[in-house]
């Protein structure tokens, strides 16, 4: 009897405990972020390294842009221009080969060391000598490991001289210097952390220029310092009190790794994060309707397109390529799948870049496409495959295209894979159709013009692996020449005209079907002030953000 009642008691106790646990778990967590800290929820799984001389990933670029200074920066009010960052002024010699930058006086790194032209020269030297993925942005000006100390050197404490090999359009040279690879590192700090390396055939230098340390370390002079990066977890930035410009209002910015849109939305609604960066259309709408939250968006230089491998006999016919352009339901995709996160855009230069061309002549027109296919002798259609990365909105668009192609008797099979698989196949030129995105490497029309219209060697051994090469497209010689000539055109207006003309040609006759330009969106708490997305992935600045 005693035993029995005890049991009963114990049972009630356990039940009570379990119930209270349930209640605790169910109660909404009112976790407010600290008043001096900005917490962003963002997918940062692409970060491999924090070294500005090596990093070539979207997420890293944003962190670098907030923590390092360059010579010049993109002018956010007019993205076809640049403004001085470390540089107070600059001059271009009459022959167009020598650029002389005068640094602002009294600049300091976060470490307290003064910023000198010597640091700038060292930053250029290490990028060129390390020769990592983004190095081409500088080496395309004729820099090599042997001549970099001559061509990019400090004339005195505050004067940096940069010599290029051809008389390029100055806008092109300056635009390239706004890329994150142009970040200026603290030479003294980096030299303290260099690691000795045994020189080899591929790498001729006896030290790593601090590359290993900078993977997770920081030696910059931006508005924020990068305190910590833990892969797939968090990036922490802190205010740089030695910053020469206006000090950031917030003491700390934290990027929390969150992959899923719905998870970010829930955290944003609960106040666990201040900004959600990867919202999909549905969640974005819900955030926009919420009175406590605000949204913002900005067009980015990233294009979504699909391309037809010219090695495939059917796809190589020009009529077929044109038919494909009529077989995309642009309107429906624009109003549903990419609503709010993209805008229909069919030319290869994104909005905001010098020479942009806002022409979208193609519409879904099955009859016209059928006519073109009949002309190509393929009235009965054919079968083809498309390599699709397993992410939205790409998968959704691929499925929509699959349906519209079927209306013209083209049977398209979707081959899904992760980004690595599809890209590897694409780069090996073994795909039929590839759908994906293309983000410009630096904020200049040449970045896209080159990749869409230059293909000097169309053999499998070709060294210049542009998108045109990947699709085995033998670009007409005049187009390639026009693209290269535009690079040397000093008059910006004339240069813009040349690119417009080139875009019209590519639009009418190429294996590229460009569908839309990405709009980056973010949802944020109503108490944030000054939160804005920039025109490119490396201009999402957080040093103006404050909290009420």
């Amino acid at each position: 009897m005693m035993m029995h009642s005890l049991n009963k008691h114990a049972r009630m106790l356990t039940a009570g405990a379990a119930l209270s646990l349930l209640l605790m778990a169910g109660a909404p967590a009112f976790a407010e972020t600290p008043a001096d800290t900005l917490v962003e929820g963002w997918a940062i799984d692409d970060i491999i390294t924090m070294d500005p001389g090596e990093a070539f990933e979207l997420s890293t670029a944003e962190v670098t842009a907030n923590t390092y200074s360059y010579l010049v920066r993109l002018d956010l009010n007019d993205t076809s221009k640049v403004v001085g960052d470390l540089a107070e002024s600059w001059t271009v010699s009459d022959d167009g080969l020598t650029y002389t930058f005068k640094l602002k006086p009294g600049l300091k790194f976060a470490s307290g060391n003064p910023v000198t032209a010597e640091d700038v020269a060292y930053s250029f030297e290490r990028v060129v000598k390390l020769d990592k993925s983004p190095a081409f942005i500088l080496t395309q000006f004729g820099l090599t490991g042997d001549n970099v100390t001559e061509k990019a050197k400090a004339a005195d404490e505050t004067t940096f001289v940069f010599t290029v090999d051809k008389a390029y359009a100055p806008s092109f040279v300056l635009n390239c210097l706004t890329a994150t690879v142009g970040s200026v590192v603290d030479k003294k700090v980096v030299l303290e952390h260099v690691k000795a390396v045994t020189p080899s055939e591929e790498y001729k230098y006896d030290n790593d220029f601090g590359n290993e340390w900078l993977k997770t370390g920081y030696a910059g002079s931006g508005a924020f310092t990068m305190r910590e990066w833990r892969a797939n977890e968090v990036v922490v930035m802190e205010r740089n009190d030695n910053y020469y410009g206006e000090k950031a209002p917030l003491a700390r910015v934290i990027y929390r790794h969150m992959k899923e849109s719905s998870g970010q939305r829930l955290a944003l609604e609960a106040g666990d994060i201040d900004v959600a960066r990867n919202l999909e259309p549905g969640d974005f709408d819900a955030v926009a309707k919420n009175g406590d939250l605000k949204t913002t968006s900005a067009p980015k230089g990233t294009l979504y397109y699909f391309s037809l491998n010219q090695k495939n006999q059917n796809l190589a016919k020009p009529e077929v390529a044109e038919a494909f352009k009529y077989l995309v339901d642009y309107d429906a995709i624009g109003s549903t799948l990419i609503k709010g996160i993209g805008e229909i855009h069919q030319t290869f230069l994104p909005k905001g870049v010098l020479g942009e061309l806002d022409e979208n002549p193609y519409k879904l027109d099955v009859a016209k496409a059928k006519e073109l296919l009949a002309k190509a002798g393929l009235a009965d259609g054919f079968s083809v495959t498309m390599d699709v990365r397993n992410t939205q909105p790409i998968t959704g668009i691929a499925e929509s295209i699959q349906q519209t192609l079927a209306q013209a008797n083209i049977k398209m099979e979707i081959i899904p894979g992760d980004g690595k698989q599809t890209l590897t196949k694409y780069r090996a030129r073994t795909h039929d159709i590839y759908i994906g995105q293309w983000g410009q490497d630096y904020f200049d029309p040449n970045s896209n013009a080159e990749t869409f219209t230059v293909n000097p060697d169309n053999s499998d051994e070709g060294k210049v692996k542009t998108l045109a090469w990947r699709n085995a497209w033998d670009v007409p010689k005049e187009w390639t020449e026009q693209s290269k000539a535009a690079l040397l055109e000093k008059d910006a207006a004339k240069r813009a005209e040349m690119y417009k003309d080139l875009q019209k040609k590519v639009l009418a006759n190429s294996p590229f079907v460009i569908i839309f330009q990405q709009t980056e969106v973010a949802g944020y708490r109503g108490n944030l002030k000054g939160f804005k997305l920039g025109p490119s992935f490396d201009t999402n600045y957080v040093f103006n953000v404050s909290k009420e």
Binding site: G282, T395, G396, Q403, A406, I414
Partner: protein, 310 residues
């Protein structure tokens, strides 16, 4: 006037229930009838059978039943409509396709997976188990160690590895599931074989000069079949879930095929605002899995040899 007692004409039921069958046919039918009676006494099992029959009917008449095309949607006009919208009973998905039509057509894929896996895996398991059990010695050791190797990996992980190696697609998913699901059948068949291999009737057959091949095929395997059927039926739910799991991970059926697991994966993105996109195929998987489980349970009771004849 001698009274010749005529046996009273037997009812069909009595004929079936007779404990002195006059022919083999009568004996077999009698046994089947007993099994059916035991099975039908179990209400839940009959419900399970009903679900499975319904699934088969739906799969056969999907074309006639589906109000819309399962692959072509109305992206601009009917995207993510809630259940009960006009013309779309269960709502539409993110491509503007009718979910009901996709579910109906998806039943074909589900059935295809189940049938093919059962056809491939069960005979392999039966053969391996029976040979292993009857032969014994090193044959037994080798075959059972191979089985052990397959047992050492979780089924889904092994299936994932196979599909990843062979490339995604419904055929490869079926092969992968079949390859990973035969080992339990081999174990069961071996256990059953061990219990009968030394029995008198096998000895008699052997004395009559039957080859080991014939003994295994004609006299051992039939004894294993009933327990195998039960096991396969109970496994069906697991097979459906594995197939759905592969589809969910993007390794099973590929778009635009209306595979239920892939449909859930596609609907996951909308779970907060458009719950029905993921829920409807989830319910379908639940119901069919439940049906197979109930059926398997009933079959186990009905086919149990110890129960027979009671």
């Amino acid at each position: 006037m001698s009274e010749i007692s005529q046996p009273a004409p037997m009812s069909r039921r009595e004929w079936l229930m007779s404990d002195r069958p006059q022919s083999r046919l009568q004996a077999r039918l009698g046994r089947a009838y007993m099994t059916w009676r035991r099975f039908s006494a179990n209400r839940l099992a009959v419900a399970g059978l009903g679900i499975i029959l319904l699934l088969i009917l739906v799969a056969v008449f999907a074309d006639a039943l589906a109000p819309h095309s399962p692959v072509v949607g109305n992206l601009a006009g009917a995207r993510l409509l809630p259940p009960g919208s006009e013309g779309y009973l269960l709502g539409t998905d993110d491509q503007g396709r009718d979910i009901l039509s996709r579910l109906l057509h998806g039943s074909r894929l589900t059935l295809l997976v189940i049938v093919l896996v059962a056809i491939i895996a069960a005979p392999i398991g039966l053969l391996v188990g029976a040979v292993s059990g009857y032969a014994g010695g090193w044959v037994d050791a080798v075959l059972m160690r191979i089985t052990d190797i397959f047992f050492a990996f979780p089924k889904l992980v092994l299936a994932l590895a196979f599909v990843a190696a062979m490339g995604p697609g419904i055929q490869n998913a079926i092969i992968a599931i079949a390859i990973t699901s035969w080992p339990p059948y081999a174990r069961i068949a071996r256990a059953e074989t061990l219990t009968v291999r030394n029995s008198d009737y096998i000895a008699a057959v052997r004395l009559m000069g039957a080859s080991p091949f014939r003994i295994v095929l004609r006299h051992v395997m039939p004894m294993c079949v009933s327990s195998l059927i039960v096991r396969v039926t109970l496994d069906m739910a697991g097979i459906i879930l594995t197939a759905a799991g592969l589809g969910f991970l993007g390794l099973g059926a590929q778009p635009p095929l209306p595979e239920w697991g892939a449909m859930i994966a596609a609907g996951r993105r909308f779970i907060l605002d458009q719950w029905w996109v993921a829920t409807m195929p989830g319910i379908a998987i639940l119901v069919v899995s439940l049906g197979f489980n109930l059926l398997g349970d009933g079959l186990r009771d009905a086919l149990d040899p110890r129960e027979s004849g009671k």
